[in-house]
Symmetry: none
Subunit: 272 residues, 2 copies
C-alpha cells in the first residue's frame, strides 16, 4: 500500500479549534478521503475526542496527537502548508491556489517528505505567528463577498483536492478514470531543489538552525534589541523559503556553530 | 456578470434533509463559492430557515425554495445530477467522477441550460425513485472503507470543484493566480518563489555572497585548507539552489559582513 503510506505522511493540524463538532467533522472528512494523521494544537475544549460528528472516525480521533504548541505538532514536517480563504494581508510566503496544490504535495510525499496541512481557529484563522512556521500558503478560491468557510468544510475541500489529484484515485469503480498520473506540468518544488535526492530538512532542524543563527546575530551584535523579534520572524520565513535539504541544514549549522564558538571566545575583546 | 448569471442557473437541491444545521452548512458553502439558488424538498424540520450554521448566507436561506416533491424542485432543470459517494448499486445512469464533472456543468450552463445538483437525505442518500429523475450521477471519490460523507461537507466539495474549474476563478486578490495560467513549471516556480515580486539575486550578487561566506569560513577556522576548494564548490551550488531574491542576498550579506568584522577584531585572541 505505497499510496496509503503516502497519505499517512500528511498531517492535518488544527490550531486552537473552539468547537469540538468541527474537530469531529475534520476527522470524518479525513476518513472519507483516506487520511489518518490528525494533530490538534491547544484545543479550547478538553473533551474534543468525544465529538459525535466524527462519524466513522472514532479511532482516528482517539489516536490524534494533542500538542500545546504549533511548532511541536509540525516538528517532523518537511513542508508546512497554511490554509486561508481570501488573503487579506499581504502574504510573506508563496501562495498557491488550491486547484494547483496537489502536484506540490505529491512531490513532497513521493520524496519521503512529511506534509502538514494547517488550519487556523474558527474565529481568527492563522495568526502572523502561525504563518511564520509555514513554507507555503494555499488559498481556497472563495467568493470575495463571502470568503469565510466553516472549518470542517474547509478541511473537506482541501483533502478532496489532494486525495483526488494525488497519485491514483482512491475509489475504484467501473467508471473511474485514471487521474492525471504522470505528465504533470509542475514538479516544481524540488525538481529544481533537490538534485541529489537528499531529503528535505524538517521543521525541528530548521528551528535549530534558526536558533543558532539568531544566537550568532546576538553574539555579533548584528542588530538592536528592538529589531530582534522582527529579525526572528524574517529568519523563520527565509529558512522556509529556501527549501533546504537535510545536508544543507547540517552544513550551515556546522558553519554557524564554528562562527559562534569563535565569537564567544573573543567576547569583550572586540571593540565596536 | 455573465459568469455570475451562469452560477445562478445552478440549483442545489436537498432532498428530505433531517438536520437544519446541515441545510445551513450547505447554504454557507453555496455563498462561499458564489452559488445562490437553493431548493429544499420535504424537509424534516419545518424551521430549517433559521439554521444558525448558515453563516453569511441568511438571505440565501430566506429566499430558498421549499417544495413537497422532488419533481417540482427540478421542473425547470435541463440537467439533473444526482450525487453519491461510492455507488453500491449498479447505476442505471452514466456515472462521472467529481473531478471530471466541471466541463459537463460548464457546457450545460454555457448553452443556457439549468443544472440541478441533488443531494439525498443524511441517512439514505438518494433513493431509487429519486435517481429516476437524474440524467447523470456524480461520484465523490471517497475511501471505500469510509465512503459516507457529511451532507454539508459533500455540498462544499462538489461546489468547490464546479466553481474552481468552471469559467474564471472567483477569487480576485493581489496574490491570486489565474488558474489556467499556472500550467508550466516555469510559472509555478516563479509564483512559488517570489511572493512579494522581489527580483531574484543576480550571479554577481551570489558571487559576492559566496566570497564573504568563504572569507568567514576562513576567519572562523571552519575547515582545513585541504577542504577549501570542495567547500567553495559546494557553497556555489548551494547558493544557486536556494533561489535567493535580491533582498535575501543583501540581508545575508549584511549578516556575514557583521560576523566577519567581529571575527577580524578578535583575531589571534581566541584560542582553538
Amino acid at each position: 500500500m505505497a499510496f496509503q503510506s503516502q497519505l499517512d505522511r500528511l498531517d492535518v493540524v488544527l490550531i486552537s479549534p473552539r468547537n469540538p463538532l468541527n474537530i469531529g467533522a475534520a476527522a470524518r472528512a479525513m476518513a472519507n478521503f483516506g487520511f489518518t494523521q490528525l494533530a490538534v494544537v491547544a484545543p479550547y475544549e478538553p473533551h474534543w475526542r468525544e465529538a459525535r460528528s466524527a462519524v466513522g472516525a472514532p479511532e482516528l480521533l482517539a489516536k490524534a496527537r494533542q500538542t500545546a504548541m504549533f511548532a511541536e505538532a509540525v516538528s517532523d514536517s518537511t513542508l508546512v502548508i497554511g490554509t486561508a480563504t481570501l488573503t487579506r494581508r499581504k502574504p510573506e510566503q508563496p501562495v498557491v491556489q488550491l486547484p494547483d496544490l496537489a502536484p506540490i504535495v505529491r512531490h513532497e510525499l513521493a520524496r519521503d517528505g512529511r506534509v502538514a496541512l494547517v488550519f487556523g481557529s474558527e474565529k481568527r484563522g492563522l495568526t502572523a505567528e502561525d504563518l511564520a512556521h509555514c513554507h507555503l500558503l494555499v488559498e481556497i478560491p472563495t467568493d470575495p463577498r463571502q470568503p469565510s468557510m466553516n472549518l470542517g468544510q474547509a478541511v473537506a475541500v482541501c483533502l478532496y483536492e489532494i486525495a483526488s489529484r494525488v497519485g491514483q484515485p482512491l475509489a475504484i469503480g467501473t467508471s473511474t478514470l485514471p487521474l492525471d498520473q504522470a505528465s504533470t506540468p509542475k514538479d516544481l518544488r524540488a525538481n529544481l531543489r533537490s538534485p541529489g535526492g537528499d531529503p528535505p530538512a524538517t521543521t525541528s532542524e530548521l528551528d535549530r538552525l534558526a536558533r543558532i543563527v539568531e544566537e550568532t546575530m546576538l553574539a555579533a551584535n548584528y542588530s538592536p534589541a528592538a529589531m530582534r523579534k522582527a529579525n526572528r520572524h524574517d529568519l523563520h520565513l527565509l529558512l522556509r523559503r529556501l527549501a533546504l535539504t537535510r545536508p544543507d541544514a547540517r552544513r550551515i549549522l556546522g558553519l554557524f556553530r564554528r562562527i559562534l564558538w569563535r565569537l564567544h571566545h573573543c567576547d569583550g575583546q572586540a571593540k565596536d
